[in-house]
Amino acid sequence: MISMRNVSKVYGADKPALGDVNVEIEQGEFVFLVGHSGSGKSTFIRLLQRELLPSSGTIIVAGQDLTKMKNWKVPFLRRNIGCVFQDFKLLPNKTTYENVAFALEVIGRSKHVIRTQVPEVLRLVGLEDKINSYPDELSGGEQQRVSIARAFVNRPPLLLADEPTGNLDPATSLGIMSLFSRINKTGTTVLVATHDREMVDSMRKRVIALENGVVIRDQDRGVYGYGD
């Protein structure tokens, strides 16, 4: 599903945010991406979405080489990737419902489909009460859950989540994680960047650890694993 070969990303003239990363992720895997703040997790995810192009190396997602991809094809790639953004990236002028519906409208789903699927997904993340609220009328955790709902409402084959439980209490986090787990069981590849040690340790999935932009550990059934 995902194949990164010798990928580096340098933002300024600084030290690279990612340096020579080699990662292969098979279809249907569930992978945690861990690492200190600023170690390059978000950069990793933004590369997979082709929000960024790598400075060097090749990235292949779903059989397509992102570095050679035509601009007009990018939206089609992104429709097959659900993404939970670290800063939510909700449309400020749309309500909860409309924000989630947007992901379906983009791929041309009928009104009927939208009207049944959106409330269903919002119920799954516990936002059935907040359907008509605008993002700035939602609490931090509620905004995060809207972002999560939007990411998987169109059942994409690949789900990327950047810190999806940073603003959620442990109980809600657990609910979200088991949701990801269920989604993963239907064949969706899931990649979660997280700091939630409890979660990683309890789920025992594959863990990729970054440190200063370099992969320092890639472990099946791993743990969060910083001894502090």
Binding site: W72, C83, F85, F102, V106
Partner: protein, 304 residues
């Protein structure tokens, strides 16, 4: 991909309402810009009509000597009528000339009565199709051999032609400048309006660039993002153009009659046809500007 026009229409109307600060700004700008341009085009049409009516008074008078052979006069008249630039030629006899002169001297008619012989010559009065041709036609007449035969003072041909040389040249210089200034002003105004509108639309879209970025990240294709913005821009422009039309219409219906009353001696009317033309131009340019401006402003933020 099914183009869901309904979706886009709803989307742009909703966005218009939710971003009303920006939308209102754009509508006001477009309204006022088109109002300015429309009013200027209308005024310049009226002015150019007034100018033409003044220019039309330019004509050439050929003075004939007292004993000129009627056949020669007829042949000269025929030659003039045959010229493509000449509208018509009228013969004025000596007697008529004196009568006309007396009429202009209302304050001292004694002057005419005091004359013992009629010193005024007969003349041919030449009206032109295009007043600006006056110098060319004068040259043509001077070159005409019959003219020399019948001219009042063949020794000084230019004395036998009266066409208000100086006044005519001044008038044309003035109307030329007037037209040039008018054209420059309208073009300037049109360009400035375009810049204003483009500016406003650009600012409005700049303020929503984050939104556009998010849409792109969620997988919306460029046309999917663009369409509601374009529709919204067109909506704004149409609204602005409509408001401008309404304002100009009420000027035409309520203000112009008053002006016409005050200066009834000048033809300050705008025909219904011209008004319709201006309306069409306004609506059209409104749509083009709205669409074009939005499309142009969006380009920057639609690079994937």
């Amino acid at each position: 991909m099914a183009i869901n026009l309904g979706y886009f229409l709803k989307e742009s109307v909703v966005s218009f309402r939710r971003n009303w600060v920006m939308s209102l700004g754009a509508v006001i700008t477009i309204y006022l810009s088109l109002l300015l341009v429309g009013a200027s085009v209308g005024s310049s049409m009226i002015v150019s009509q007034v100018v033409r009516s003044v220019e039309e008074k330019v004509s050439i008078r050929v003075f004939l000597k007292d004993g000129a052979a009627p056949a020669d006069v007829d042949s000269l008249q025929a030659a003039l009528v045959a010229d493509a630039r000449v509208k018509n030629v009228k013969y004025t006899s000596k007697e008529q000339a004196l009568k006309d002169f007396g009429a202009t001297m209302v304050e001292s008619p004694e002057l005419v009565d005091a004359l013992e012989v009629n010193p005024l010559p007969a003349s041919l009065d030449v009206d032109l199709k295009t007043p600006q041709d006056v110098n060319a036609v004068v040259a043509m007449i001077k070159a005409n051999p019959t003219f020399l035969k019948v001219a009042d003072r063949p020794d000084k041909p230019e004395k036998s032609l009266k066409y208000g040389q100086q006044i005519v040249n001044q008038l044309f210089a003035f109307t030329r400048v007037l037209r040039a200034v008018g054209a420059v002003f309208i073009i300037m105004l049109a360009i400035i309006s375009l810049i204003f509108i483009n500016n406003t639309i650009r600012l409005a879209i700049y303020a929503r660039r984050k939104e556009i970025g998010i849409m792109r990240l969620v997988g919306a294709s460029n046309w999917f993002i663009r369409t509601p913005f374009l529709l919204e821009g067109t909506l704004q422009s149409l609204l602005g153009a409509l408001l401008a039309l309404l304002t100009l219409g009420s000027i035409q219906w309520f203000v112009m009659p008053k002006v016409r009353e005050t200066i009834s001696f000048l033809p300050v009317t705008l025909s219904a046809g011209a008004a319709a033309q201006i309306s069409a131009i306004l609506i059209l340019s409104g749509v083009v500007i709205g669409l074009g401006g939005s499309a142009f402003a969006l380009r920057r933020y639609l690079k994937v």
